[in-house]
């Protein structure tokens, strides 16, 4: 796996090596997310070979409680993504409340406070699009429960660049709108996996090492 490098992101176009091994997992989740994240992160084992970066829609003034809860439930260390830090394998990161989280052109995190997108800040689309710019076919994007259509544009972009898309089965989701919208956005045939929460950790573990 290629580790993100940091060259001050000044110089033009350096792309991940042409290896096909996955490099990053991004997760988008909204209403109903607490339970869903508990199941997905809870199912990932310590030493998971990729970084997992999560946008969970939440109130703009919410504090670090969510991070603490998720840390307790997960085998992976969980923290808020920090400005200009490289995402580390085996670590889960949450987008901080009230900021958009982007993947910089050197693979590090970047935060912005520009307007909410589709009423959301952090925006799932913003993370998915920029992550896909950097990782292309080596990105795995996951859409879970939610009551809006954030993430749909993001998965379109992920697919256009050859990445993998995993969507929670809308029949099981507490709020099916978001996973349904993601499936509709790329067409059911283009979704790599439509799966129940219980199956998602296994799928991620498989995709992480598949090439």
């Amino acid at each position: 796996m290629k580790r993100a490098t940091s060259d001050g992101n000044g110089s033009a176009g350096h792309f991940p090596a042409p290896s096909q091994a996955a490099g990053l997992v991004v997760v988008g989740v909204s209403a109903g997310g607490l339970e869903a994240l508990k199941r997905v992160l809870g199912g990932l084992e310590a030493g998971f070979p990729l970084p997992v970066v999560i946008v969970q829609h939440r109130r703009s003034d919410s504090d670090s409680l969510l991070t603490r809860l998720l840390s307790n439930w997960s085998g992976l260390p969980v923290s808020e993504a920090e400005e200009k830090e490289p995402p580390l394998a085996g670590h889960a990161y949450l987008a901080p409340a009230n900021y958009h989280l982007l993947i910089e052109t050197d693979g590090c995190f970047s935060l912005t406070v520009d307007e909410p997108e589709l009423f959301a800040r952090p925006s799932i689309n913003a993370l998915f699009v920029t992550a896909s710019d950097y990782w292309g076919p080596r990105l795995i994007a996951v859409v879970l429960t939610g009551a809006n259509a954030d993430g749909s544009l993001g998965v379109q972009r992920v697919k256009a660049r050859g990445g993998r898309v995993v969507v929670q089965d809308p029949g099981e989701a507490e709020f099916p709108v978001m996973p349904s919208a993601a499936i509709a956005a790329i067409g059911i045939g283009a979704v790599d996996y439509i799966a129940r929460l219980a199956e998602i950790p296994g799928i991620l573990a498989h995709l992480a090492v598949a090439s």
Binding site: G8, N9, E83, E104, T105, D133
Partner: protein, 281 residues
Amino acid sequence: MEEAGSLENEKIEMDCLLEAIFRKYGYDFRSYSRSHVLRRLRRRVEIDGLLSFSELQHRVLYDESCLQRVLQDLSINVTEMFRDPAFYQVIRAEVIPVLRTYPFVRIWHAGCASGEEVYSMAILLKEGGLESRCRLYATDFNEATIEKAKDGIYSLADIRSYTANYQKSGGTGVFSDYYTASYDSAIMNRELKKDIVFAHHNLVTDGEFGEMHLIICRNVLIYFNRDLQKRVVSLFSRSLARGGFLWIGSKESLRYDDPEEAFEPVVENARLYRKRYGTDE
């Protein structure tokens, strides 16, 4: 699957566009966060119905109103009063008492956007007994937003959430005493403005401001790449008096930006730093 080549072309075209803006107009975005610039320019191309950054570049070069739109896109003017109220409590507790020991206090508010933070600070200073003993230099590189800051007129809907923030920040007065409501707007009191000087200043290309006691620059460094962040932090160090404070955004840190260790943390979590004694350049 889309060709990786089109993404590469996009980045080349972006570099050319930023170079063109710099050479023609002097605004230098070449060391801004690339993912941020890419995202904002893509949005502009989509809104204006253009095909590519090259087409945008042509328009920017030949039509100044197009440049103005791009400037607006790249300078995110989003702000609030008493944003992160708990951090304002830290300023009340840690900074105001020190400032009170000076006969006259100079504060630089860099990247002040439409002024909400500056008026918040003016209120804090007033409640800390520093009114008329201080000067606040409020600067931004975006002229349009500076004009808004000068006006100090905000929507009443926003004022409602600012009132809650003010109370959580440890405010000792009544927030509605600081503005006059008129229809659906609130006009900030003239007394708050009398210690404030609004000015145009570009952190990338303009020089230092002398002998400040406090510099506030929140949610501006996140838009810069590490190299530019370092340069701007060094500009702040040169602009501060010894023992002067630097207050940055709640998600920013000096971890990589201060290789000379000109600053030491006062309250690290609150992103409040102080220029070390014995450091001077």
